[in-house]
């Protein structure tokens, strides 16, 4: 069970990272095309006219996928931010209750979010909504990873809730308490 859950979080995190790499490669390819065409035009040669259709939209969709798919992995790495001032100033006993509340409450909110995003994607699918750009991309395709990400986050929060109740502390306590460079 433990192994399966951790593999699930890691798998969606890697998928999210692939979305970001895809953005870099797509934008990079388009830029290379633009530079090549600019050079060809300077040399009075025929342009290639290379263009990735709906690039901006596709990148936006990939970003949405990356942001939501990475939610669980980010939580497990202790990288989501929260105000820990009270948590770290109370004793270990009170902290246990506070952590239980925080994980329980967060799981409920996250579950609500996952349910409504899933419902939203389902409605989009039923009504065959497509993007407004040149490429008519069915919108449920980018919305589905969002729903999956929110769902896996809910699972991860419930998983941590169980860990907190049993062991008294989240599995990522050390990572969260150490300084993370991204936190401003």
């Amino acid at each position: 069970m433990r192994r399966a859950l951790d593999m699930l979080y890691q798998a969606v995190l890697v998928l999210a990272a692939c979305c970001l790499v895809a953005i870099a490669l797509l934008v990079g390819a388009q830029l290379a095309g633009r530079i090549l065409d600019g050079t060809l035009a300077l040399l009075h040669l025929q342009r290639t006219g290379f263009i990735i259709l709906s690039l901006n939209e596709i990148c936006g969709y990939l970003l949405a996928g990356a942001s939501f798919l990475a939610l669980a992995g980010t939580l497990k790495a202790g990288a989501h931010i929260r105000v820990t001032m009270l948590l770290t100033s109370v004793g270990e006993g009170v902290r246990h209750y506070l952590e239980t509340w925080a994980f329980g409450f967060a799981a409920v909110v996250s579950g609500y979010m996952a349910w409504h995003i899933t419902h939203f994607a389902w409605v989009t699918f039923m009504f065959h909504d497509v993007s407004s750009g040149v490429l008519r991309i069915p919108l449920w395709i980018p919305q589905m990873p969002m729903a999956i990400g929110a769902l896996v986050l809910t699972v991860a929060l419930l998983d941590e809730l169980v860990i907190v109740v049993i062991r008294g502390r989240p599995s990522f306590r050390a990572a969260e308490d150490s300084i993370s460079l991204a936190k401003e």
Binding site: V27, L31, G60, A66, R82
Partner: protein, 435 residues
């Protein structure tokens, strides 16, 4: 429920949930949910899904993970070692000598990284031990480092400016360019302070090192040249209108990879770690933005921002009075919130007010970043102080006290930016694609 009571209830609820240790994005979403169910018959869940989807799927926001990734790649190179060796011979003859490495090093790293804590940590890790070993004053070495680290927020690329641009629908490119002069102004103020202090406290300065001939200096800073070219390429292409912020960031990613490969730091592990770290950081920020987008939509339903703007407008405050009040408010807020949360949380409420008072939103973005920088170096919550606490082992309040003079210099910088808005607005007005 009348608007005033409702806003008080929501504010208290927000602080209670935040303080209890619930993640910021989820706390924002909860307050948005309560705001909707108490005022409207609109289904809250539907508003939540649509506003989160709209916030998450954004072309402009793709600049965020790309700039973060670029910073993560360079963070894993030997850049910080090179920075000290390369800069030290050049600043030796200035009054204050090697203390200037803190400011210049941070300014350069700030131009490849959008984070102030990362800037502070990268430069601090190398510069601080070297400075202390040479007998420089500890107060000055630590204080100037904490202060200069905040340049990471102002000098482009800046994560917090991307976030501000996204929530206020302003141009990332123009905000980046607007941050250049105030960033340089701040660096000059810091260097002036170091020089002045060194002239007044000659007895507390270590003896000078032997002079380094010009060619030797060039040789020592040779490895910095590619980084400087990278910075000029990224900022220049945004300024020249050749590339959008995202495109410039992607170019930055590929050039950093090339640089990392050329310096021998690129391995499969470092590449994988940089991508995963960037994925997590960008996920953390995007999630807060999604929660904030829902809160903003909900706030629009309640009518609170408009009512607040009218209420404050009723006092007929002079713009300077309003700014002074906001500055105090932000510094207080910064005592228990991080910069990103401060910006997203307040912009959903304060921007209508700011617009009504006739401020330019580009200018206000730079102002807000300066104030967030100040909050960054005031205890008990200040990430630069945490970083230096980690490096030096000094208590956070001690580090905060060392940083006090730089805090005052930042107050001067804010006053200058308020008195002369052209400092911010002139450079973006000369951009090639300026409208």
């Amino acid at each position: 429920m009348p608007v005033v009571e409702l806003s008080l209830v929501l504010l208290l609820l927000m602080f209670a949930i935040l303080a209890s240790g619930v993640w910021i994005a989820l706390a924002l979403a909860t307050v948005g949910f309560v705001a909707i169910v108490t005022t409207m018959s609109t289904p809250a869940g539907q508003v939540m899904a649509t506003s989160m989807w709209a916030a998450a799927n954004s072309w402009d926001l793709t600049a965020l993970p790309m700039f973060i990734w670029m910073g993560e790649i360079l963070y894993r190179t030997k850049l910080s070692d090179d920075m000290f060796k390369g800069l030290a011979p050049w600043v030796q003859n200035l009054p204050g000598r090697l203390l200037h490495v803190n400011v210049v090093g941070c300014a350069i790293f700030a131009a490849v990284s959008g984070s102030s804590a990362a800037t502070c940590a990268t430069i601090g890790r190398i510069a601080l031990p070297e400075l202390l070993k040479r007998g420089y004053d500890e107060r000055m070495a630590i204080g100037t480092l904490a202060g200069s680290g905040t340049l990471g927020l102002l000098i482009p690329p800046s994560i917090i400016l991307i976030i501000y641009a996204t929530v206020t629908e302003q141009s990332i490119a123009r905000l980046f360019i607007a941050g250049v002069f105030p960033g340089i102004l701040l660096a000059v103020l810091f260097m002036g302070f170091i020089g002045g202090w060194a002239l007044l406290n000659k007895d507390r300065m270590p003896p000078p090192e032997p002079p380094v001939p010009f060619l030797e200096r060039v040789k020592a800073s040779r490895s910095l040249l590619p980084v400087i070219l990278l910075i000029l390429g990224v900022i220049g292409s945004i300024y020249g209108g050749l590339a959008s912020a995202t495109e410039a960031a992607v170019v930055g990613v590929f050039l950093s990879l090339a640089l990392s490969w050329w310096s021998g730091a690129l391995t499969w592990e470092s590449l994988r770690d940089s991508v995963l770290a960037a994925t997590r950081t960008s996920c953390m920020i995007s999630f807060i933005l999604a929660g904030a987008a829902f809160l903003t939509a909900a706030m629009g339903f309640t009518g609170i921002p408009v009512a607040l703007a009218e209420w404050i407008g009723g006092f007929h405050l002079a713009p300077s009075g309003l700014l002074a009040a906001l500055t105090v408010f932000y510094i207080m807020l910064g005592c228990f919130l991080d910069g990103i949360s401060m910006v997203v949380l307040t912009t959903s409420i304060i921007i209508p007010l700011v617009q009504k008072s006739g401020f330019d939103l580009i200018w206000f973005g730079i102002y807000i970043v300066l104030v967030v920088e100040m909050a960054q170096i005031t205890p008990p919550v200040g990430f630069n102080l945490y970083v230096l606490q980690g490096i030096t082992g000094r208590n956070i309040f001690t580090v905060g006290a060392y940083t006090m003079p730089l805090f005052l210099l930042m107050c001067i910088a804010v006053a200058l930016v308020v008195a002369f808005p052209e400092l911010v607005l002139w450079l973006p007005s000369t951009m090639l694609n300026a409208h």
